[in-house]
Structures are given as structure tokens and as C-alpha cells.
């Protein structure tokens, strides 16, 4: 007892300067003091500068009239709308280009990544050249290449290039027929939703039955039939309500149809091609990361090459692939801010215009940062959830 008390009571032998705890507290106090004084200095300067410039701080400016036009709008917007709405239009444009870009980049990336591992020498070399070219040039350059190198030198609307299905390509963009939804066409999306729901249900039941009895069921073809068949049936039953508005050639321009502007097209193509090169490398690394014994064991079990890939190799490769894939998706979303260079009105571009018009630099940059951070956070949360779902379940 006594000795223990002595131990507890014993004062620190080293001096206070050498006590790690004291040191750590001292350093942290120093950091906080430096930070606080730095922030105070910055805030003070900013306030002085803003007063000199006669700019009121705060977010009230978002309710002001924007007064500028936006070329690509997914929601109703005129120059009479508010600044806030202009920023939302930009945000939606960012999300659209990121979404379609991610899908395209994933498809190209998987094809190229698997192609790089192909036994076929020619395919392998083509895919390698693709990856090495696109990985090593800046995305902004790829965007400019599509925009001023390819799309800007297309023919004028008068001599548009004719493409199949009544589409046209000229320097004002890509024109294709627009679907006009007539009366009763609401049945079609309903049919699609019901089809997807039923396909999901069938897949679940088939899986349960296979687990219980070992009997297989052609899930893929049934799902395909349900997802395509039901909307088609709805289309026929509601009396062919969807008509197409074809773009028509007039003297100077094309009228009607749906037009994808060259700004969007070049941004979308550049982001997809650029990111696909990185995704291809990730996929390749993922597949090569699966031990060779796995594919050998599956062929020993009598699985064909395709089955082995689908049932054994790819599910394991996905575990390696998903985390870096998530960061590539985030990169693509962040790279979509390069839109400003060619004038596609994404979040950065519209917020930048608002910034120039109002001079509310601090608020606009804060809005931009908060939105991008929120997108990043949501994407990584989703990918973490997906990753946890796919992760190895240790038994």
C-alpha cells in the first residue's frame, strides 16, 4: 500500500519543459493563438476592404434580379429571375453533366480496362494507347480540343451532316428528334416502373429458389422482357401517344427537335474520355488484384471463362475497384467546373457571373465551396455505403 502511494505521489522527475503533455498543450495553444490572430487579421482586412468598396455583406443579394441570360437551362429561368435561381440552374447543369459523364466514363473505362487484359494483342495495344494518351494530357486541353478543334469546325447549319434517325450535326450542336408526350402517355413511365419493380421481385424470388433448391431461372431475359415489354405494352394500349418532333432544315437553321449544344457536348465527351482512362487503370488493377488461384479454382470447378469472370473474379475485383472508383467519380464532378472555360453554364460559371455582377466575392466563393463539399460528401457517403455492402463478409 505504502509503496503504491509513494509511486502515485512521486513528482515528475523531469522538468516541466520536457513533459510531453505540457509540451503538447503549449504547442496547441501556440497554434490556436496563431490561427486566431491570423483569422482576426484577415477578417479585419476584409471588413475594411468591403467598407471601402461599399459592398454590404450577407446573402440578401441572392434575391436580387439576375439580369443575365443562361444558355442551357433545365428549369425555367429568365434574366428576370433571382441570383439564387441562377446559381441553382448552374448546380443542376453541373449535376446533369456529372451524371451522364460518370455513366459514359464507367462504360468506356470498363471496356478499355478489360481490353488491356485481353489475350488479343491488337485489342490490348489499342487500349494501352488510349489510356496512355488520355491519362497524360490535361482535361482542359481535351475540352478545348473537342470545342474548338472538332465541334467548332463542323459545317454551318445550312450543310449539316445527316445522321441516322433524323439527327443532324452542325456547329450549333447535335440535333435529334424530340419525343412529344401526348394524352395517356403517363402509362409508359408507369409501365417502366412496374416492370423494374417486377424484375426486382423476380430476381429476389429466383435467388431464394436457387439457394433453397438449386434450380436456376433465366432472370436476365425475364427482367429484360419485363422492363422493355411493359412500357411497350403501355405504349400500344394507350394508342401510340408518343410522336416525334423531327428537326427540319430551313434556309439558315434547323428548327424543331432537341438540340444538345456544343458546349455541353464537348464538356461531356472530354470528361468521359479523360476519366475513362483512369477508370480503365483502376479496373485493370482490380482484376489483376484477384489471386490467380481464384480463376484456376473456378475452371477446376468446371466454370466456363465467362462464368468464372462473372461469378468469381469480378465480384472480388469490385472490392478493390470501388474505393478508387468513387474518388474518380468525385474527380469527374469537380472537373466539370472546367465548363467555365468554354462557357457551359455550370455551378462555377453561373456563380462566377453572379460574383462579377454583385462583387459579393466572399459569399459567392463560400456558396461554391459549400455546394461542392456537399456533393463530395454525399457521393463519398453513398460510395462508402455501397462499398460496405460489397465488402467481404468474414464468417
Amino acid at each position: 500500500m505504502a509503496s503504491q502511494e509513494v509511486l502515485r505521489e512521486e513528482p515528475s522527475r523531469a522538468s516541466l519543459i520536457n513533459d510531453p503533455k505540457v509540451r503538447s498543450i503549449f504547442y496547441q495553444c501556440l497554434v490556436v493563438a496563431l490561427l486566431v490572430s491570423g483569422v482576426w487579421w484577415i477578417v479585419h482586412n476584409t471588413i475594411v476592404n468591403l467598407t471601402n468598396l461599399h459592398i454590404a455583406s450577407g446573402f440578401a443579394f441572392l434575391r436580387g434580379r439576375a439580369g443575365f441570360d443562361i444558355s442551357d437551362t433545365a428549369i425555367a429561368y429568365t434574366s428576370d429571375s433571382t441570383y439564387g435561381r441562377a446559381i441553382i440552374v448552374g448546380l443542376i447543369n453541373t449535376l446533369i453533366v456529372a451524371f451522364v459523364g460518370i455513366i459514359t466514363a464507367t462504360i468506356i473505362g470498363f471496356i478499355v480496362g478489360i481490353g488491356r487484359l485481353s489475350q488479343n494483342w491488337l485489342i490490348q495495344k489499342i487500349c494501352t494507347v488510349y489510356v496512355e494518351v488520355f491519362r497524360n494530357i490535361p482535361p482542359l486541353l481535351v475540352i478545348f480540343f473537342w470545342y474548338s478543334g472538332v465541334l467548332a469546325v463542323l459545317p454551318a447549319p445550312r450543310d449539316s451532316i445527316n445522321l441516322p434517325f433524323g439527327s443532324f450535326l452542325n456547329q450549333r450542336g447535335f440535333y435529334f428528334p424530340r419525343a412529344v408526350w401526348g394524352d395517356g402517355s403517363w402509362l409508359i413511365p408507369v409501365g417502366l416502373l412496374v416492370g423494374i419493380a417486377m424484375a426486382w421481385f423476380v430476381a429476389r424470388k429466383a435467388h431464394q429458389r436457387q439457394m433453397a433448391t438449386g434450380q436456376q431461372f433465366p432472370v436476365f431475359w425475364t427482367s429484360l422482357a419485363l422492363i422493355i415489354g411493359l412500357p411497350l405494352l403501355a405504349y400500344v394500349l394507350s394508342g401510340f401517344p408518343v410522336t416525334f418532333d423531327f428537326p427540319k432544315q430551313s434556309t439558315f437553321n434547323l428548327t424543331g427537335g432537341f438540340v444538345v449544344k456544343p458546349e455541353f457536348l464537348s464538356l461531356y465527351l472530354a470528361l468521359s474520355f479523360y476519366t475513362a482512362a483512369f477508370i480503365a487503370e483502376i479496373v485493370r488493377a482490380g482484376i489483376r488484384g484477384v489471386a490467380k488461384g481464384q480463376s484456376e479454382a473456378s475452371s477446376a470447378l468446371g466454370l466456363r471463362a465467362g462464368q468464372a469472370l462473372r461469378l468469381v473474379v469480378v465480384p472480388q475485383a469490385m472490392r478493390i475497384v470501388i474505393p478508387p472508383l468513387a474518388s474518380q467519380y468525385l474527380n469527374l464532378t469537380k472537373n466539370s467546373s472546367l465548363a467555365i472555360a468554354i462557357g457551359y453554364p455550370d455551378l462555377t460559371a453561373t456563380t462566377g457571373t453572379v460574383l462579377n455582377q454583385t462583387g459579393q466575392a466572399v459569399e459567392c466563393v463560400v456558396i461554391m465551396m459549400v455546394i461542392y463539399l456537399a456533393i463530395s460528401l454525399l457521393t463519398s457517403l453513398f460510395m462508402n455505403w455501397f462499398n460496405a455492402k460489397m465488402a467481404l463478409v468474414e464468417r
Partner: protein, 385 residues
């Protein structure tokens, strides 16, 4: 012991038989790599069709139909466009690149002062090449000269205003000069800063750790353009009235801070991969924190993450092209700016200029990635399975 009848024993090695004709030579290679199965054959045919469709066009455009020299746009325009080429002609306009070469390299740096960036370039090569060759001795001195000496000398050479050199403001810098100097400084600044941030993130001091996490995650969550915007719009607001900041310096700060956050994550990966025993071993030897990091942990951690570090360098090198957007004229910016030169505006100008810029970027990035692969192999001491 059993006796063997050793009436005949071969005294020479039997010569190896040549491989069967079916598994060697060109035809066997083709059979194995191009037409192994029906699917393979179809893929090969598609691949050949693709190559046959694209390659001749590229070669025609870039070499055969290309115009290499010429005084103005007429050499690169068709008759209909007011030039001398036949209608339907399509070829690279290298004459444009040729005519603008000085600008693409140095921007609007005064012509009579261009020996200064050239000298800096020569110094860079002279210091960089022995640094990259493992067999050349005196790496420490070399690194010191490259990382500390060169920036100081280049600063005086490029900016001027001292030692009788004429002052050249950074607004006149451009082209490859801006791209290389921005990325060199960003690399030199971001690696140590990234290491400090990574150590801070793994620190046991909660406030330091929190600050590092906030900085790293905030910077990684936003696009570089937003950072550059911030650097170009908000930095002037943060400074006392009257103090102005060079635009080049603002971009430099933006790019360096951005790269440092990414570098920090790469280095953290390396730190996490070092077994705990190494840290404990260093502690038991009585090393202090910085000694432990400098002698034991960092040499192992950095070696592990060389590919990641070089990837960050490559990313940074590519990202410097974004300063075009805040109206600085780097390699890409100057090429793009010259599209609007009425003297050279043709349908082929933009494509040619951009492909030249892409080639320059590609050379640097590809070189870096190959060098990193080489270093990785050289330093591989068997840690990896």
C-alpha cells in the same frame, strides 16, 4: 548395395530439340495472340478495321498533308477560305506552331531578354539530369542546389530588377515558361507542406489534428478552379488595403496549397503502411519525434508511396493548365489566345495548336510516369508481395 550395369553412359548433354514448327515463329504468334478463338478473330478484325480507319487519316493529317512553314494563314486555308490549298484539303497547320513558337515557349517575354529563361532552362536540365541518374554521386548537394539554389537564381534571372537585369513583370511571362515554373515551385512547396500536413493529421494533439483534417478535406472536396478563384478574388480582400499581390504569385499559392492537400493524403497512406514496430523501435532507441520521423519512418513511408507522389506531380503539372481560366497565359492559354490571331485563323489552326500543346504536356507527364516506374523498381527492396 545393388550394382548397376553401366555399360553405356552418355558423356555429353543431349542438344535441345528445336521447338515444333507449330509453336514458334510469326504464324504461331498470330494464332496465339490474334486468332485464338472465334470471338478473338472477330475482335481482331474489328480492331484492324478501327486502326485501318483511323491511323491513315492521322498520318495523312499530321505528316503528309501538313504544312510546315509559311508566312500566314493562306498556306493553311483552302481556296474557298481564301488560301492556296485545294478544296477539301485537310492537314495540320504546323506553320502556325512554327510561327508562334517563341510565344508558346516564353509568352510575351521581351525578345532580347529571352536568354534569361533559356539560361534557367539550361540550369534546370543541368541540375535535374544528374539528380535523376542514380549513379551520379553527391545527391545531397545536388538536391540542395536544385531545390534551394535554382529557385533563388531563377527568381533573379526571370524577374530581374537587380544585378543590372531589366525588370520583367510576371504578366509578360507565358507559355511553357509559366507551366514549368508554376509546376516546379508547386512541386517543391507541396511535398514538404504535404508531409507536414500528413504528420499533423496523424498527430496526437487534437487541435492540430482537427485543423489538418479540416484543411485537407476542404481542399480535396472543391475543384481547383474554385481554389484559384479564391486566390485571385479573395486574397486581395484578405490583405490590408493598398497591398497588392502579383497574379502569378496568387496562382502559385493556390496551386501549391491545392497540391499539398493531395500530397498529404498520399503521404498519410505511406505512414499508415509502416508497421507499428518501426515507430516503437525508434521510441525505444530514445529518438525524439522529429528524429524518429526523419531517420526511421519517412524514408520507408516515402519510398512506399513514390507512385502516388509522382501521380500527384503529374496531376499538378496538368492542373497548371487551369490558370488559363483566371486569364494567365500558360502553354495552353497562349496557344488558345493565338487562335484569335486573324493572321492565322483557319479551320486547322485550333486543332494543330492544341495537338502540339497536348504533345508537350504528354511528353512531360509520360516521362514522369516512366521515371517513377523505374525508381519504383530500383528501390523495391522486397516489401511488396
Amino acid at each position: 548395395m545393388q550394382e548397376h550395369d553401366m555399360s553405356w553412359v552418355r558423356t555429353e548433354m543431349a542438344l535441345a530439340q528445336p521447338a515444333p514448327a507449330g509453336v514458334t515463329g510469326f504464324s504461331a504468334w498470330v494464332r496465339k495472340n490474334l486468332i485464338a478463338s472465334t470471338g478473338d478473330t472477330i475482335l481482331t478484325i474489328i480492331g484492324f478495321a478501327l486502326v485501318a480507319m483511323i491511323l491513315p487519316q492521322i498520318i495523312n493529317w499530321a505528316f503528309i498533308n501538313a504544312v510546315w512553314t509559311g508566312p500566314n494563314r493562306t498556306v493553311c486555308a483552302t481556296v474557298a477560305q481564301g488560301g492556296i490549298q485545294p478544296d477539301g484539303w485537310s492537314g495540320a497547320c504546323w506553320a502556325f506552331v512554327n510561327a508562334k513558337f517563341g510565344q508558346i515557349m516564353f509568352g510575351t517575354y521581351p525578345v532580347e531578354e529571352r536568354w534569361r529563361p533559356i539560361l534557367v532552362g539550361i540550369l534546370l536540365v543541368v541540375l535535374m539530369v544528374p539528380m535523376l541518374m542514380p549513379s551520379v554521386p553527391r545527391k545531397g548537394l545536388n538536391a540542395l542546389l536544385l531545390i534551394v539554389g535554382l529557385p533563388i537564381v531563377s527568381f533573379f534571372l526571370l524577374v530581374g530588377g537587380a544585378f543590372g537585369l531589366e525588370h520583367v513583370e510576371t504578366a509578360r511571362w507565358g507559355g511553357l515558361l509559366v507551366t514549368l515554373s508554376l509546376s516546379f515551385v508547386a512541386i517543391v512547396v507541396s511535398l514538404p507542406l504535404g508531409i507536414v500536413l500528413a504528420l499533423g493529421r496523424r498527430s496526437k494533439m487534437p487541435i492540430v489534428k482537427m485543423l489538418c483534417v479540416i484543411f485537407i478535406e476542404a481542399v480535396r472536396g472543391i475543384p481547383l478552379i474554385t481554389v484559384l478563384f479564391m486566390a485571385s478574388v479573395m486574397l486581395p480582400l484578405f490583405l490590408p488595403p493598398g497591398v497588392t499581390f502579383d497574379k502569378y504569385l496568387r496562382a502559385l499559392i493556390g496551386v501549391s496549397l491545392f497540391a499539398a492537400a493531395y500530397m498529404a493524403e498520399v503521404v498519410r497512406g505511406g505512414l499508415q503502411a509502416i508497421p507499428k514496430g518501426q515507430y516503437e523501435g525508434a521510441d525505444s532507441l530514445g529518438l525524439g519525434y522529429w528524429q524518429k520521423m526523419y531517420f526511421i519512418v519517412m524514408p520507408q513511408a516515402l519510398k512506399l508511396v513514390i507512385p502516388g507522389i509522382v501521380n500527384t506531380f503529374i496531376g499538378m503539372f496538368k492542373d497548371t493548365s487551369l490558370v488559363t481560366i483566371i486569364s494567365m497565359f500558360d502553354l495552353l492559354g497562349i496557344v488558345k489566345q493565338n487562335f484569335s490571331d486573324a493572321n492565322w485563323a483557319t479551320a486547322q489552326t485550333a486543332k494543330s495548336g492544341l495537338i502540339f500543346a497536348a504533345f508537350v504536356f504528354w511528353l512531360f507527364c509520360f516521362g514522369m510516369s516512366r521515371y517513377s516506374m523505374y525508381t519504383e523498381r530500383r528501390l523495391d527492396t522486397g516489401h511488396k508481395r
